[in-house]
Amino acid sequence: MPDLDSIVAQARTQFAAISEPAQLEEAKARFLGKTGSVTSLLKTLGGLPAEERRVQGEAINHAKQAIEAALALRRDELARARMEQRLAAEALDVTLPGRNSQRGALHPILRTQRRVESIFRSIGFDVAEGPEIESDWYNFTALNSPENHPARSMQDTFYVDASDSAGKPLLLRTHTSPMQVRYAKIHAAAHREHPEMAPIKVIAPGRTYRVDSDATHSPMFHQVEGLWIDEDISFADLKGVFLNFMRAFFEDEHIVARFRPSYFPFTEPSAEIDIAFSSGPMKGRWLEVSGSGQVHPDVVRNFGLDPERYIGFAFGTGLERLTMLRYGIGDLRLFFEGDLRFLRQFA
């Protein structure tokens, strides 16, 4: 009877020397195959007495299991080695750049517009846009600027070669204020049947135009109009809303604002708004950012509302101005040149 232990030891040695899975199967056959040494031993059991057969059989089975375990272990080792080899071969230089990563970006003015919209949406304002070729009535008359009024010369107006239904020349809106009237009219009409009108809270951003072109004026620019009308919205509320708007927009709780009396035909009292930063390169300087005021009763009437019952404020702010102050841009013309080297900075 050969020494089972040495057969097992032999199998282990042979398996360990094998590095190819096919050879491993051949080696397995040498021990466990039909003619394998362990199988042969099993065949010899038949001639033994029952008790010895049981003892021998157990010993051989034990050896067989040990060989199978060694085989499985070696298979695993080989598989793992193979996997490791493959993984090593497949390794990438992960520092190489990815594909199609480049993104474009919004224009800085639109970036500002979006921020302004989200600030005002957070206190329940709607956002409205409207026509840029506008009628004389919406741009001026409805806003309390009759024809020939000296206030009209405050704004140099572009006219186009087409006329409105009243025969007056159409124009490029000089401010976003016509949207006050358009939006409020829609709102008032929608609430005509209700005893209580929901407040009018809207901002109207968009392109505006004036005959002016130099380092600090562009013939086309952007404004955002704000309007809040209800039964009790006062000038003090305008101050509160605007100051908080500036602090939110510039993310600076230390901004101060001053309201200077001014004149716009469509508001009364009217105010120019200056702000000042408490730090940074503009520290301490008063910077004009907005025109504002309590909506003039004639304008409220043009909304289709009773000015005795409804009061509130309006303001108009230049988006270019806010953008320049926010990002430290010194030259207005950069906004309209379409130069990618400038625009990509806002990605």
Partner: protein, 808 residues
């Protein structure tokens, strides 16, 4: 409005300094734009008397002067000025003096040191007006007034620390277009008393009068005037008047003109002084102009008038533009001896816009179109007369004063409660009364109401809010708290079925497009070439011809963006814009958000040029093509929008590589490769691909609705069809889609093959299209037979509609 502090202080003299007054005015709505001293800072300059002078021993152009500056010893100063004279009083910068840097230079102040000039010691410098920053005059030494004492400080002597105020006035405050008007405001703000100038009547010493007939009371509400005979028009304007005029930005011209300008600045009263001897026919007519008439004006311009423009006419015809500018023929000159002084009330509505029509502006027109006090014409004629007599002499005639129609000044009532509500502050009524009273407004306290009768110098007080504004101004906007509003809070949410334009922007930015903002007005050639629009909406007053028309397409601007950036060494340009375009369209009515006759849709457009993808180590570089950009456009489409791309020609685009976009059969945009003609014209090294589409169809989207997920296995069938090469794949797909029933969940084109030449089973004029059809029934698994039947139905439809055949 520009004036000096010293002049202002003759009317109101508060204890506050110039800075404080300026701040108070600014915060009251009279914005002080500039506050400067009459001369830039300098020090150490005193009056010096040139006692004697001699030629410099070794320089022809230099003099060596002995200058008395009040010290025991005269100073020895070398000077190069041509007007050096013994006895002359001049500014002398002593050693240690600091002179202002020359205007326009960034130089430091000049410090005067003891120096040797060509071997002669010099102990200071004698100065010209320019060297002191007083004016540009560098012709010689500045002559100081004869009464000056040697050694006196020149700044004090010439009052050079006097502050010059420049106030930017809003159009409603015509009353503040004078030193008196500003003084009234300063008195109200500071509480200092207002000293109005006395204007005693100047008695007539001759009986002469000029006949004036006013024919239009809607033009001229009041006309006052008088003759003065025997004036000396050559008399010199006194220095005090010249100084005040100069410090108010007015160049002194001649005594009579200066007096008229002076009173305009002093009292806000534009007046006109005619040469009475040049008035043809010896009488004046105030009337509207007549078509065909013209006026030769003081400024040398001759302008045509019509019935909407007021004139003052004599026997020859119109002589002056009423309330705007006098005429050349009757202007005063140095030879003038008889004058007619006129002060009138012109109705603002009769003056407004008239000067602008002639493209000029005048101080008089500026004031009259805003409104000038109608109660003081006679007093102001007296004031002018007094000054004329004082400076030019003469014998005045009686004042003629015709009143035809004057503005009414109905009382305006302000409710105390309304005032508090609008301002948002519980102001005491006494404060309101005090605020209005300080402004010189006649008022009555009626309990809960304050009644104000607007004075004739105010043209901006006619409704309750006008008074509320005055109260708020006087209270101080700064003293009104900034309250975060307490309001009913209502949620405001944008509907889920609407996408914001920012969503569209984000999609394109995420696909590597940079947003640009281009002008809405473009070159007419762009419209003609790139939009085929020969009748664009034109600007009547463009700032430049290449910004003359409103664009009807974004294409012109986008192509220009490509060219601009290529010229700046950018090889890959991908930009987009969201903006309105403008087209005349008679079908557009006036509506809540529309203007009749003009369609102005908000478009989104993009252009891509250069490599399809950013240069990268692992991708093969290739130029961007139609289908790259079409994919970008498709990414913008809402999922539920049925869109068709129809091959069509567009003036900007390659005719074989362009499509018109239809949404629900409405044309909404274009996509295509730039036409080779424009590629060449713009000198582009390749063809950009562009699109633009109306955002109206992109911002509306369906709210998702759940459909049961099928648990049965899908059945796939591929159909390869051979069709004529000219048959659009989209048309075949549409046929298949129409023929499919609800069990077909998708049909997609997965292969397109067109042989370069005939071969295999395809003729040269044919192409092969392969579609994958996915079928699924939510309730049960489809049988083979059912799938085959459906596939056959689709094939039959294609055969029928497109003479397609199954590919072998």
């Amino acid at each position: 409005m520009k004036f000096s502090e010293s002049w202002l202080r003759t009317f109101v003299n508060p204890t506050q300094d110039g800075e404080a007054i300026a701040h108070a005015l600014t915060m009251a709505g009279l914005e002080v734009e500039e506050l400067q001293t009459a001369a830039p800072p300098f020090s150490g300059v005193v009056a010096g008397r040139i006692v004697s002078f001699a030629k410099h021993p070794s320089a022809d152009r230099l003099s060596v002067c002995q200058v008395d500056v009040g010290d025991a010893q005269a100073l020895n100063i070398v000077c190069g000025a041509p007007n050096v004279a013994a006895g002359m009083l001049v500014p002398c910068a002593r050693v240690g003096a600091r002179l202002p840097p020359l205007p326009g230079t960034d130089a430091q102040p000049l410090e005067i040191r003891r120096a040797s000039m060509r071997g002669v010691a010099s102990e200071g410098m004698l100065c010209s007006a320019r060297e002191l920053g007083l004016s540009d005059d560098h012709s010689g030494l500045l002559a100081l007034p004869a009464h000056a004492t040697p050694g006196a400080d020149v700044r004090a002597l010439l009052d050079l620390d006097d502050r010059i105020f420049t106030v930017k006035l809003t159009p409603n405050r015509a009353d503040a277009l004078s030193v008196l008007g500003i003084a009234r405001e300063v008195a109200a703000l500071t509480g200092a008393p207002l000293v109005e100038p006395a204007m005693p009547a100047v008695p007539a010493t001759v009986g002469d009068a000029l006949r004036v007939t006013v024919h239009a009371s809607d033009l001229c509400g009041r006309f006052s005037g008088r003759l003065v005979r025997g004036v000396n028009a050559r008399a010199a304007t006194p220095q005090w008047m010249k100084d005040r005029l100069e410090r108010a930005g007015q160049r002194p011209i001649s005594a009579l003109v200066d007096i008229s300008n002076y009173v305009m600045l002093e009292l806000g009263r534009p007046s006109h002084i005619f040469d009475a001897d040049k008035i043809a026919g010896g009488e004046l007519h105030v009337r509207w102009g007549r078509a065909g008439e013209s006026v030769a004006l003081l400024n040398g311009q001759t302008v045509a008038v019509d019935a909407s423009v007021g004139v003052i006419a004599d026997a020859r015809g119109p002589e002056a533009l009423a309330g705007i500018m006098g005429g050349d023929a009757t202007a005063v000159s140095l030879e003038t001896t008889s004058i007619f002084i006129e002060a009138a009330f012109w109705w603002p509505a009769a003056i407004q816009g008239r000067a602008r029509r002639y493209n000029f502006a005048t101080e008089a027109g500026h004031r009259f179109e805003r409104g000038v006090d109608f109660s003081t014409t006679v007093a102001h004629v007296e004031r002018i007369t007094a000054l004329v007599l004082e400076i030019c002499g003469g014998a005045p005639g009686p004042i003629g004063d015709q009143i035809l129609s004057l503005p009414e000044r109905p009382p305006v009532r302000m409710r105390v409660a309304r005032c508090r509500k609008v301002i948002g502050v519980a102001l005491a009524k006494d404060e309101m009364l005090s605020a209005l009273g300080r402004l010189g407004l006649p008022l009555r306290d009626l309990g809960e109401v304050i009644e104000v009768t607007p004075p004739p110098f105010r043209f901006d007080l006619s409704i309750e809010e006008d008074l509320i504004e005055e109260v708020a101004r006087m209270h101080g906007f700064d003293n009104i708290p900034a309250l975060p509003p307490k309001a009913r809070s209502a949620m405001f949410n944008a509907p889920e079925s609407r996408r914001s334009l920012f969503t569209l922007r984000d999609i394109l930015a995420g696909r590597d497009y940079q947003e640009v903002v281009n002008y809405s007005f473009v070159d007419a050639a762009w419209e003609a070439d790139l939009a085929g629009n020969l009748t664009p909406i034109r600007l009547k007053n463009p700032i430049a011809s290449q910004m003359g028309v409103m664009r009807s397409s974004l294409f012109g601007s986008l192509v220009a963006n490509v060219a601009y950036n290529l010229n700046r060494k950018q090889s890959r340009v991908r930009v987009f814009e969201v903006g309105r375009v403008f087209r005349a369209d008679a079908a557009v009515p006036d509506g809540p958000l529309t203007v009749a006759g003009v369609d102005q849709p908000m478009m989104i457009g993009a252009v891509a040029f250069g490599a399809a993808r950013q240069e990268q180590w692992g991708s093969r570089a290739r130029p961007v093509d139609f289908f790259d950009v079409k994919g970008d456009l498709e990414a913008l489409l809402p999922g539920d929008l049925a869109v068709r791309f129809v091959a069509a020609t567009h003036p900007a685009l390659h005719p074989g590589r362009s499509a018109q976009i239809f949404a629900a059969d409405r044309p909404v945009g274009w996509i295509g490769e730039l036409h080779p003609r424009w590629v060449a014209a713009h000198d582009l090294p390749g063809a950009p691909v562009l699109f633009e589409i109306d955002t109206a169809v992109l911002v509306v989207t369906a709210v998702p609705s759940y459909a049961e997920v099928a648990h049965t296995p899908p059945v796939l069938r591929d159909i390869a069809l051979v069709v004529d090469a000219a048959t659009p794949a989209g048309a075949v797909l549409a046929t298949l889609t129409a023929a499919a029933d609800s069990r077909v969940t998708s049909i997609s084109l997965f292969d397109h093959y067109r042989p370069a030449k005939a071969g295999g089973d395809l003729a040269e004029s044919e192409k092969s299209l392969a579609f994958r059809v996915v079928m699924q029934d939510t309730q049960r698994t489809l049988t083979d037979a059912e799938a085959e039947a459906m596939t056959q139905k689709l094939v039959d439809a294609a055969v029928q509609a497109h003479r397609a055949r199954l590919r072998a």
